[in-house]
């Protein structure tokens, strides 16, 4: 059975305001979805619901046909999430950050973390404390986290924030490759995203 993510009838109410209701989403191998909408439309909330950090007020999320609330461990083993707060420790170097992350997450075999840092353009910075890096460079460390796992599903909240044009192309390429290899991605971004290959659908929140 092919891996798939399915959101059924999602509803979310926040501070007595309906963010969205009857939201359905289906994602198959090799597909990507860009969630769009004005500020405050609930993009981040939707992403947090999709990765199981928040439970929806109604509806459910299915991973391979099973509710993620019932089988958290299996779902989380195939998930990589980069949120608004990127989870990079300022007092650790990028190398230490990724090394720690690789011990609490399933990682690729024969992984060499330095090579991953090279790939995101931080080869020269691997031993500098992360708080000395720029905001964009810290975000690149978070993106590097995606590359050390072989998670099927990537959930990315504004991955392009504070990233320069060259970096945006790099991230787009990384996502394209992931999707091309049969992965799935859900991302939010205010700017148009172009993937070299693979399908990019758009989901618009009002």
């Amino acid at each position: 059975m092919s891996a798939s993510l399915e959101a059924q009838n999602l509803q979310c109410i926040r501070d007595f305001r309906m963010l969205f209701s009857c939201l359905n989403l289906q994602l198959q191998n090799g597909e990507a979805v860009q969630v769009q909408g004005p500020n405050g439309a609930g993009k981040t909330t939707l992403l947090r619901i999709l990765c199981g950090l928040r439970s929806p007020d109604e509806g459910k999320i299915l991973w391979k046909g099973r509710d993620i609330a019932e089988d958290r461990a299996e779902f989380q083993a195939t998930l990589a999430y980069v949120g608004h707060a990127h989870g990079i420790k300022g007092d650790l170097t990028p190398l230490e950050n990724l090394r720690f992350w690789s011990t609490i997450h399933p990682v690729k075999q024969d992984l060499i973390i330095s090579e991953v840092l090279q790939a995101v353009g931080l080869g020269a910075y691997e031993n500098i404390l992360s708080r000395r890096l720029s905001a964009g460079q810290r975000r690149r460390v978070a993106i590097a986290r995606l590359l050390i796992t072989d998670a099927r599903l990537w959930i990315l909240d504004e991955p392009f924030t504070a990233i320069d044009t060259e970096g945006i192309r790099m991230i787009e390429k990384v996502i394209s490759q992931h999707v091309e290899q049969g992965g799935m991605a859900v991302l939010t971004s205010h700017q148009p995203v172009t993937l070299d290959c693979g399908m990019l659908r758009t989901l618009r929140l009002q």
Partner: protein, 228 residues
């Protein structure tokens, strides 16, 4: 193919990471320790330098100061991880959250609790506690202060998502600290009176095992709610 990290590996990795972070953040670590030393040294100045009175109140003073110093450092337990998103990443990891909580609390104790134990002999001498009872005092603190950290972790887990949760944290945690304080302080008092404090040691030990077993589970549940 991916490599699934083992349980012990995640635990030790987090322990190691938090100890490294603690050492790189020394000033935060010194705060509770300094507080502990200042409070205890002010007692002889504020009450009386009379040796017999100090000897009577000494164990209680050291225990109260240790308890307050622990509370002072509690908020740091999950705050940084909550603010920078590391906590979300841990909750989304494949490791069981209680194991990670156990690692975090132990690291936190090594950074904030252990220094209190190590400096306590010096303070015991200030307060005229007989030198031969110093090992007893240290042992009571070694068993008692991790219990305080474990109980505190539940409160921190519940309040980390709130703005200004500090007040609430004290109210939640303080009542649960009372038994630890009573038995901990009475260990040295009993020993000064020439009796065997084994009974209090057993109760304190039982409290440690109890909190160490159940607190990670409760804290994990609280953290899930906090990031909601």
């Amino acid at each position: 193919m991916s490599i699934q990290p083992g349980l012990a590996k995640g635990f030790f990795a987090l322990l190691h990471r938090d100890l490294v972070l603690g050492i790189r953040h020394r000033h935060e670590l010194l705060n509770p320790l300094l507080f502990f030393v200042i409070v205890v040294t002010l007692f002889p100045l504020g009450i009386t330098p009379e040796a017999s009175i100090l000897k009577a109140i000494g164990p209680g003073v050291i225990w109260i100061a240790a308890l307050l110093a622990t509370m002072l450092g509690l908020d740091h337990l999950f705050r940084a991880d909550f603010d920078d998103g590391s906590l979300e990443q841990m909750l989304l990891s494949t490791q069981p959250i209680p194991i990670l909580v156990l690692g975090k609390v132990l690291a936190h104790w090594c950074i904030t609790g252990l220094p209190l134990v190590l400096v306590s002999p010096l303070l015991a001498i200030f307060l005229n506690i007989p030198p031969d009872l110093i090992p007893t005092l240290m042992l009571s603190l070694i068993i008692g202060t991790p219990t305080l950290s474990f109980i505190g972790a539940i409160g921190v887990g519940l309040t980390v998502g709130l703005r200004g949760g500090g007040m609430l944290l004290s109210l939640l945690v303080l009542p649960l600290y009372v038994p630890v304080l009573i038995f901990g302080a009475s260990i040295v008092q009993t020993a000064i009176g020439g009796m065997n404090p084994a009974g209090q040691f057993y109760v304190l030990g039982a409290l440690l095992v109890f909190s160490m077993t159940l607190s990670p589970l409760a804290t994990a549940a609280a953290l899930r709610i906090a990031v909601h």
